[in-house]
């Protein structure tokens, strides 16, 4: 665990200091603020819960895009710069490297999403919010970030170039999100399977509405574990090439 935290801390600090980290954070905060003003607060009178639901829904889209961008450098950049040799020749297991890098990126995404807390708090000026709803919304976004980051980590483990990594990850995340469409056109029992595999639709909706279901948490954790496992296998496979 010591090695995992060591790698995670370095990754978090590196992301916070990188131009990519600044740009992603600035864009997410700017667009989230814009959407909050136009989509969540705009359009006449609304219940506070609806404003929050719209805010968390909009934030979730930005979280997925930001996760793909943040994760593209995780392994691909190390390989591109040759620093992967430092990690792979150290007595650290491959899954510890992958987990450490993932946790560093998740830490960045957690900080980034939590900075948006001022927006739900602005709702308190003219309305009343449930802190349970706020907690559920942020938990959902964090779990979504976890899933998207894990997919991004896998994409980053496939490619040497960060550009290729970001395209692979974006394709995978888009495919996972679009599963709900397949669920709508497929016949039973595939419709349920596709709908339940979708990264966003069925599993995120309860969170934005302030509900926390164990099945959704299990889904996001499963996606995370699956893709981190796949990324670890990719890293191991590189030694055989």
């Amino acid at each position: 665990m010591r090695s995992v935290l060591l790698v995670a801390r370095r990754e978090l600090v590196a992301t916070l200091r990188s131009p990519l980290g600044f740009v992603v954070a600035a864009l997410v905060l700017a667009i989230a603020g814009l959407f909050f003003n136009l989509r969540a607060l705009g359009g006449g009178e609304k219940y506070s819960a609806d404003v929050l639901a719209q805010f968390f829904y909009d934030l979730s889209g930005l979280v997925m895009v930001a996760s793909i961008l943040v994760s593209m450098r995780l392994i691909a950049e190390e390989r591109q710069n040759g620093t992967i040799a430092l990690l792979l020749t150290s007595p650290v297991k491959d899954h510890q490297i992958v987990l450490g890098k993932f946790l560093g990126a998740l830490g960045f995404m957690a900080l980034l999403t939590l900075v948006t807390i001022y927006m739900p708090m602005l709702v308190m000026v003219h309305g009343k919010i449930s802190w349970g709803h706020v907690f559920a919304g942020y938990l959902g976004n964090l779990l979504l970030a976890s899933g998207a980051l894990a997919i991004g980590t896998f994409g980053s483990s496939l490619a040497r170039s960060q550009i290729v990594a970001v395209f692979v990850s974006a394709f995978l995340v888009a495919a996972m999100v679009m599963m709900w469409l397949l669920g709508r056109v497929a016949d039973a029992p595939l419709d349920d399977i596709f709908a339940n595999l979708a990264l966003h639709n069925i599993h995120f909706s309860p969170f934005k509405a302030g509900k926390v279901h164990l099945r959704d948490i299990v889904y996001y954790l499963s996606v995370t574990v699956f893709f981190l496992f796949a990324a670890t296998r990719m890293l191991e496979a590189r030694r055989w090439r």
Binding site: R10, A85, T89, S90, R239
Partner: protein
Amino acid sequence: MIIANELVKDYGELRAVDEVSFEIRQGECIGLLGLNGAGKTTLLRIMSCLLTPTSGSIKVDGADVTRESEAVRKKIGFLPEEPPLYGEMTVGKFLEFAARLRGVPRTDVGGRVQDAARRCRVDEVIDQRIETLSYGYKKRVGIAQAVVHRPPLLILDEPIAGLDPAQIVDMRDLVHGLRGEHTVVLSSHILTEISQTCDRILVMQKGKVVAKGTEDELSAGLAAGKRVSVRVRGKKDQVEDALKGVEGIKSWELSETDGTVRALIISEKDRRAEISRVLVQAGLDLIEIGRPEGELESVFLRLTGEGRGGS
């Protein structure tokens, strides 16, 4: 310390390392010599657990690099050709990270970092960000990260590549200083560098080890004797008479220009002391004595099959 047995590494159709076997004793400094593409880097990457061999085995201090990779990684420090550095970190923070990654206890980290920085002469830039350093300093920081946990085996891939002449001298001194405490394996395609730094040389060509031994052993094997070049002020017949008095000389070639005689002497053993003594006793002014110019290079080229008549 290292035992390699019929080691093979294939990249698809290409065989990068071809049934290589060798043994390296503890405390030795070994040079892997070969032209680009000879398989040196692949061999070093297998030793440092970055690659898995296709077949054969290699053991570091009794631990197999494939089956006991983690145990091997505890025993090694590795510097690839491009030093693996995080540019945004300061030298001190980076070495601290490398030490902790290699399992150095938190209480010892500070001392180990200072020690590695002092030995690799990067202590004066310890608070500087790595991305602002010159390439020579970056190489030294690369070596510092490889020695910070005091591994018994140090693997250096082309440590002088890309350095200017002053930095090469610094690096040579640095590697000299590391001998003894660590077993050192380094690669280079520059023969003089290897011969000045290493105890023994493994010459690689097309994935195979085509020769191994000390520099003297390699050149003696190829030249069928020791070759000495001598320049004296005098006459050819005077030199010839003097050389007849030295035992063990197999042959010589003499050429006279501008009052000086140049002799290329081939003997069974190193006879430089006797040769210089008889020449001085014969009243000749000894201007220079040593190995013939370019001999090392010609040995290298013949071993790697690049020279005329090479195999």
